[in-house]
């Protein structure tokens, strides 16, 4: 009862001094808006990163040949070559197919696929008449092709013999067909196309067209995106003159029941104990996607928190502004306080009245701030080309926080008002 009256009195007071009220709220508005905007941007990026990583495969282990950690070693001359540098990687340091076969035989239940890539060129171009399309020429091994499970729209996918015989065949995207052949997917099947990668020309027979899916983690939408021109891994090895060499990088797709963090250790040990114990400079490192994802999330979270804390400083400044204006308001209304006391208001009800007023100021400021923050954050995320994810929890926290500021910074002035001596207050002019 007294509560609603207090809110109405507070609102009437704010209305009477609209300009002053808005200026007072400004600090709160800016503070809450920045926190909400930062949270929105951060949450959006987190969810994009997570879904991208999920697409890449959360069940994946990334493994590769890396320099041995040389923490306890210094070269004879005492010179320090950075972190563990001993010598360049040679073919002898790579993981061979024999090693892989032994590895697969050791863990038949855990390994579903061993994904291999062989990149021929990232900045390739396929030209048809006056039109051209950007492509990345990349080799997929059989496992990779099966795992990626590209949706074939026309023609066929790769067959065993394409891999085994390193056939000069390729798969292109419907996007490329759309640009170069007016979207006629069937017409391109069986044609030979040529990709120009930095002046070297590679030609392949198109056996199929697959559906292009835009990667989530890319900025903006281009009408000429770089799409993958997929060739068999073995074909790409030939193109790069890498036949019969090992690889230094794989992605392992594990079975659903495998504990990746545990398995990562087993994989590392298998290779390092069996093959790399006598290698002077290189060893195998295994990282699970889950742990990478967690690291990434922790990092984004920390940045978000740091930025929010900086933005939060303006909340404190805003709170001090509110306290200041409450003190002014109480001085202005000294006589009103005296009158209320004469009419029977207790110290408690005076205190409650002014705390309510300060909470109302902060809450209104907070709500305006939330609206601004959501708009700001959404626009920022949209400008980067993603869907914004406004976090409900940040809004709830913002509302709670602005109320807390109102109570905290309103208490001192309100208490001062409550303790006014009624006769001094009545006599005040």
């Amino acid at each position: 009862m007294l509560f609603t009256e207090n809110i109405l009195v507070a609102l009437a007071g704010l209305k009477a001094n609209i300009m002053r009220s808005l200026l007072t709220m400004l600090g709160i508005i800016i503070g809450i808006a920045s926190v909400i905007a930062i949270m929105t941007v951060g949450n959006s990026i987190t969810s994009i990163v997570n879904s991208t990583m999920q697409d890449l495969g959360a069940n994946n282990l990334e493994m590769g040949v890396v320099q041995k950690s040389q923490d306890n070693k210094t070269s004879d001359s005492g010179a320090n070559y950075g972190t563990g540098y001993v010598r360049d990687m040679t073919d002898q340091d790579l993981i061979t197919q024999d090693m892989l076969d032994a590895f697969k035989a050791e863990f038949p239940d855990d390994i579903k696929y061993v994904l291999k890539y062989e990149n021929v060129g990232e900045k390739g171009k396929v030209t048809e008449g006056s039109k051209s399309a950007n492509v990345q020429v990349i080799g997929y091994n059989k496992d990779n092709f099966e795992f990626k499970d590209k949706k074939i729209i026309a023609g066929r996918g790769f067959l065993n013999r394409d891999f085994e015989n390193a056939k000069k065949v390729c798969l292109v995207t419907d996007k490329l067909v759309e640009r170069l052949y007016n979207g006629d997917n069937d017409a391109i099947i069986g044609k030979q196309i040529e990709a120009n990668v930095g002046g070297s020309y590679y030609s392949y027979y198109v056996v199929g067209v697959y559906e292009y899916v835009q990667e989530q983690f890319s900025f903006g939408v281009s009408d000429n995106p770089t799409t993958e021109l997929i060739i068999p891994y073995e074909t790409a090895r030939v193109a790069n003159h890498n036949q019969n060499k090992g690889d230094y990088y794989f992605t392992l797709v594990t079975s659903v029941n495998t504990d990746n963090d545990e398995f990562a250790t087993k994989v590392r040990d298998f290779f390092n104990i069996n093959y790399y114990s006598r290698n002077d400079a290189y060893e195998v490192m295994v990282v699970s996607m889950t742990s990478m994802m967690n690291q990434m999330n922790t990092m984004i979270g920390a940045i978000q928190l740091a930025l929010s804390a900086i933005a939060g400083i303006s909340l404190v400044v805003g709170g001090i502004g509110v306290m200041n204006i409450m003190l002014v308001s109480i001085t202005e209304r000294t006589k009103e306080i005296g009158t209320r006391k004469a009419l029977g208001a207790t110290n408690g009800s005076i205190r409650l009245q002014f705390i309510t007023e300060s909470v109302v100021i902060c809450l209104i400021g907070g709500i305006i701030g939330i609206i601004f923050g959501i708009v700001l954050g959404t626009v920022a995320v949209k400008l980067m080309g993603y869907e914004a994810a406004v976090s409900l929890s940040s809004i709830v926290i913002a509302v709670g926080f602005s109320m807390a500021i109102g109570i905290f910074f309103g208490y001192y002035p309100a208490n001062k008002a409550a303790k006014l001596n009624p006769i001094d207050a009545l006599r005040y002019e």
Binding site: M1, A12, E336, T339, L343, T346, N347
Partner: protein, 241 residues
């Protein structure tokens, strides 16, 4: 103590400390009583201590020494929150400068003491309307103080003073800021409350003429009561007028 005594002040002293060791005594041991239903005026020049006395009668301040009972309640022993309740229920203040709450319409102003008394919304609104009707302010009850004339404000203030049906109305120079015609109208309202409802009214004024309108005049000078006399209030004469 007699049952029909409303105010009983015995040997009331009031001193102010203007920084130790200076002590300044304003009231030097006042003794007087006001009966229930009496209309009494306390008259004195400025500096006579009448404002200080009013603050003590109104339970806004405590005497330095002496005993004060209001409607049988010992003010000395009351705690702060009990004094708040006392002011709320037993005393109706009418000030020279009206002291209406700004940005709050007449109706809400009258409701205020009832709100502090914890009365329900519907009940207090109804009573506030009734009280405003008594002072002929029904048609302006939704106006804020800055939209009312001095006389109208003082009528609202009187309605507000009556809100919790107080034992005593304490009026401090109620006509001091009004022209004589409007002042007359306000005084008529006090007479009406006194006669028709039997209210105990204490009028504090510097004006000897105004004090003549009351039943009894207590004259204050330099913190002492220097005289008590009967006023010339004559109901019959008023009716003839």
């Amino acid at each position: 103590m007699e049952d029909n005594i409303m105010l009983d002040l015995r040997n009331i002293h009031k001193s102010f400390f203007i920084g130790t060791p200076n002590e300044f005594e304003v009231l030097h041991g006042l003794n007087f009583t006001v009966k229930k239903g009496e209309f009494v005026s306390i008259v004195g020049q400025s500096g006579s201590g009448k404002s200080t006395l009013m603050n003590i009668i109104g339970a806004l301040d405590r005497p330095t020494a002496g005993e004060y009972t209001l409607d049988g309640i010992d003010i000395e022993k009351a705690k702060d929150h009990e004094l708040s309740a006392l002011r709320n229920k037993k005393i109706g203040f009418v000030f020279q400068t009206y002291n209406l709450i700004a940005r709050t319409n007449a109706l809400k102003n009258v409701e205020l003491p009832m709100m502090y008394a914890g009365m329900g919304r519907a009940e207090r609104t109804e009573r506030a309307k009734m009280l405003l009707a008594e002072v002929d302010m029904t048609d302006r009850m939704h106006h804020n103080p800055d939209e009312l004339s001095g006389g109208q404000k003082q009528r609202v203030a009187i309605a507000r003073a009556m809100a919790n049906d107080p034992a005593i109305i304490l009026a401090d120079e109620p006509t001091g800021a009004l022209d004589s015609a409007t002042g007359r109208m306000i005084m008529d309202i006090f007479h009406k409350l006194h006669e028709e409802q039997g209210k105990t009214i204490v009028l504090i004024t510097h004006s000897p003429e105004l004090s003549q309108e009351t039943e009894r005049i207590i004259t204050l000078k330099d913190g002492n009561i220097i005289g008590e006399s009967a006023g010339h209030w004559d109901r019959a004469a008023k009716e003839v007028e």
